[in-house]
Amino acid sequence: MASELTQRIQQNPQYQRLIKTRSALGWWLTVLVCLAYYGFILVVAFDKSLFATPIAEGWITTWGIPAGFGVILLTIVVTAIYVRKANRGFDRMVEEILEKEVQS
């Protein structure tokens, strides 16, 4: 059986909201990274010429370069988004939940 404290926290609406928003954010960002990365790999596997095409007439830089750099930068940006969100919102929610339930 779950402890009394666990049950109390699980019934706290703020806890339920925290779990829901945090895991939704985590999963959506995970899906985003997977789409970007496996999409990138599939383009490489099935249509190499797409990434070998210059980004503009007379240019040497191909679409592959911004795409590749883009995937790397995306990983950094989405991680930053999550961490910012967690530092500003989730941590405070956790504090408030624990303050309310652990002390009462």
Binding site: M1, A2, S3, L5, T6, Q7, I9, Q10, Y15, L18, I19, R22, L25, G26, W27, L29, T30, V33, C34, Y37, Y38, F40, I41, L42, V44, A45, F46, K48, S49, F51, A52, T53, P54, W59, I60, T61, T62, G64, I65, G68, F69, V71, I72, L73, T75, I76, V78, T79, A80, Y82, V83, A86, N87, D91, V94, I97, L98, V102
Partner: protein
């Protein structure tokens, strides 16, 4: 630059031609053998390089001083495993980077970019994409539930002995394969850069890492990683800066010069690295989820005081590692222009002196002269030392904490006993690493890093992840499914071209398992096994474990009851 090149030229004449210079690289760009870039191929002994040795002695002196300081702070098992939990998120982020940015990935990926341009970028990206996954799904929960090793998380509601044995097996197998690849790479690299005999090179690496880990534990290992990460990032930044500066910070001009040298635009698009979509995706899965199952990386999350700092660690690690891979891409293109077209760096057959993986090292010489070459050589050596120290510490913890203290002594061992066992294990691991390093000198070990990642993705990650998020998961499911993943990844790798053809020498095309990595099959197989066996598990133990999930869930989400940092 002129004077530098003359000096280079004189020095380069002393270089001897390399028998199998392009072995590692040609394998790297062939589909199906994509792992080779992760290791350093066979090299020829070079004349003793005193600048490099001087720089290296300086580094070793500094790290030994750190170790001495760390030793005074390593009194308990907790200090040994987690540096007392007092590392900040920023420091830990750098240390994770230090664990992850190996010499093989620096030299291997820049060499791959030099040889085939864009393909090197595809490979590098694979190593980057696992980090957000760790941030979103693993890092905070791991810190909230565990204490010293990732097995602590499994043991939170599961039956101690079987999950500890499984986690120790998963850790030791991953650590051992990773370690052999690093030791062989270290021996080859040092023979090449410093002109030392292979056997001495391997012994020096083994002994130094043993000293760091035994005396300084996690504190020394962490600071060695941090120093190394700063040196590597600093050196690589300088090289990329010099290359870009030469072209007025206009990538178009750099690419134009590279195409001029290559006399073809093929470098600018995908080549032969990913031809088979299944191989490509499978490799991607192994890299992405393997990163989230590497024991020496997971262990680093216990060195910070709480989940918030764990989160910051991955943020910094992701940033530094991503920045590092962008640098290696520029360095690789710089090497196309400054190294591959410069006869000073080529032998009579037009191959790179010292072996295909020397692209970045020659570029260091070209942009910074002999002193900078010495510095980058020392950085490469330092990099290997830091990586093997992290691996050894993780292996030693699996034996002392998971096997000895938890599975055998059932948690009744004293901190001092546990510390003693971890030190003895460290000595054993160092001896084994030196021995295997020597045994595998002439072997093709290119598959080993890939195998380590595949096993981490197929055994450690599924068991860890399901135990955290799925209430229905039971001991029987996690342990059996985990072993299914471990064994299937191992067997499929042996049957794949990288081992069957490249290492065992069977004819080309005869490998029973045709893909570059087993992960696309072995990881889902592990998840499926854990799921089915857990569902079928109707034991009283299973019911108890499922009932314990709610407490565990609240703790993993809020940090309620999580282990606090030991105070100093």
């Amino acid at each position: 630059m002129r004077a530098t090149q003359q000096r280079v030229s004189r020095q380069a004449k002393a270089f001897t031609a390399i028998r199998s210079s392009a072995v590692a690289l040609s394998a790297a760009v062939l589909p199906g053998l994509s792992w080779a870039a992760g290791t350093i191929g066979e090299t020829q002994k070079q004349p003793t390089n005193w600048t490099a040795i001087g720089m290296f002695v300086l580094f070793v002196g500094m790290t030994l001083w750190i170790t001495k300081w760390a030793a005074s702070r390593t009194r308990s098992a907790a200090d040994f495993y987690t540096a007392g939990g007092g590392i900040t998120g920023f420091q830990n982020g750098l240390a994770i980077g230090g664990d992850y940015m190996s010499a093989a990935s620096f030299l291997g990926i820049s060499a791959m970019v030099m040889a085939s341009g864009f393909d090197g970028l595809i490979y590098a990206i694979g190593f980057q994409v696992g980090w957000p996954i760790i941030t979103f799904l693993i890092a905070e929960r791991l810190r909230n539930l565990g204490r010293f090793t990732f097995a602590d998380v499994l043991a939170h509601r599961f039956n101690q002995t079987p999950v500890r044995v499984f986690a120790a097996a998963g850790t030791l197998v991953v650590v051992l394969f990773y370690l052999i690849a690093q030791m062989v790479g270290a021996g080859q690299l040092i023979k090449l850069l410093f002109g030392l005999d292979y056997i001495y090179a391997v012994i020096i690496v083994g002994v130094l890492m043993m000293v760091y880990v035994i005396f300084g534990g996690m504190t020394a290992t962490t600071w060695v990683q941090i120093v190394k990460a700063c040196m590597l990032l600093g050196g690589a930044s300088f090289m990329a800066f010099m290359v870009m500066w030469h072209y007025g910070f206009n990538p178009e001009k750099l690419f134009a010069a590279a195409i001029d040298v290559k006399k073809s635009t093929s470098t600018m698009g995908p080549g032969g690295f990913v031809t088979n979509p299944i191989s490509g995706i499978s490799l991607g899965i192994a890299l992405m989820f393997g990163t989230a199952g590497l024991p020496h990386i997971l262990m680093r999350f216990f060195t910070v005081p709480n989940a918030k700092e764990a989160r910051k660690s991955v943020m910094w690690a992701t940033t530094w590692i991503g920045y590092f891979y962008l640098l290696t891409f520029i360095i690789g293109f710089g090497a196309i222009v400054f190294v591959s077209a410069n006869p000073d760096f080529l032998d009579a057959d037009g191959a790179l002196r010292g072996g295909a993986n020397m692209a970045a090292v020659h570029l260091a010489n070209a942009v910074g002269g002999n002193a900078f070459l010495g510095f980058m050589s020392a950085v490469a050596f330092a990099t290997i030392l830091a990586v093997v120290a992290g691996l050894t510490l993780s292996g030693a913890s699996a034996v002392s904490h998971d096997l000895y203290a938890s599975a055998i002594k059932k948690g009744k061992a004293t901190s001092q006993d546990e510390l003693r066992i971890s030190k003895i294990t460290t000595i054993c691991l160092a001896v084994i690493a030196i021995f295997l390093g020597i045994v595998f000198e002439k072997q093709n070990v290119a598959f080993m890093v890939g195998l380590a990642f595949a096993i981490a993705a197929s055994a450690n990650f599924p068991a860890l992840f399901l135990s955290i998020i799925w209430k229905g998961c039971t001991t029987r499911g996690a342990v059996t499914g985990g072993f299914v993943g471990l064994i299937s990844a191992l067997v499929m790798t042996v049957l794949s071209p990288a081992v069957w053809e490249a290492t065992l020498g069977y004819p080309k095309g005869s490998a029973p398992f045709p893909y570059a990595s087993p992960a696309i099959f072995s990881m889902p197989l592990a998840f499926l096994s854990i799921w089915i066996i857990s569902l079928l598990d109707r034991s009283a133990q299973a019911q108890k474990e499922q009932e314990a999930f709610d407490d565990q869930k609240v703790r993993s989400e809020t940090g309620l009851g999580a282990f606090k940092a030991a105070s100093h």
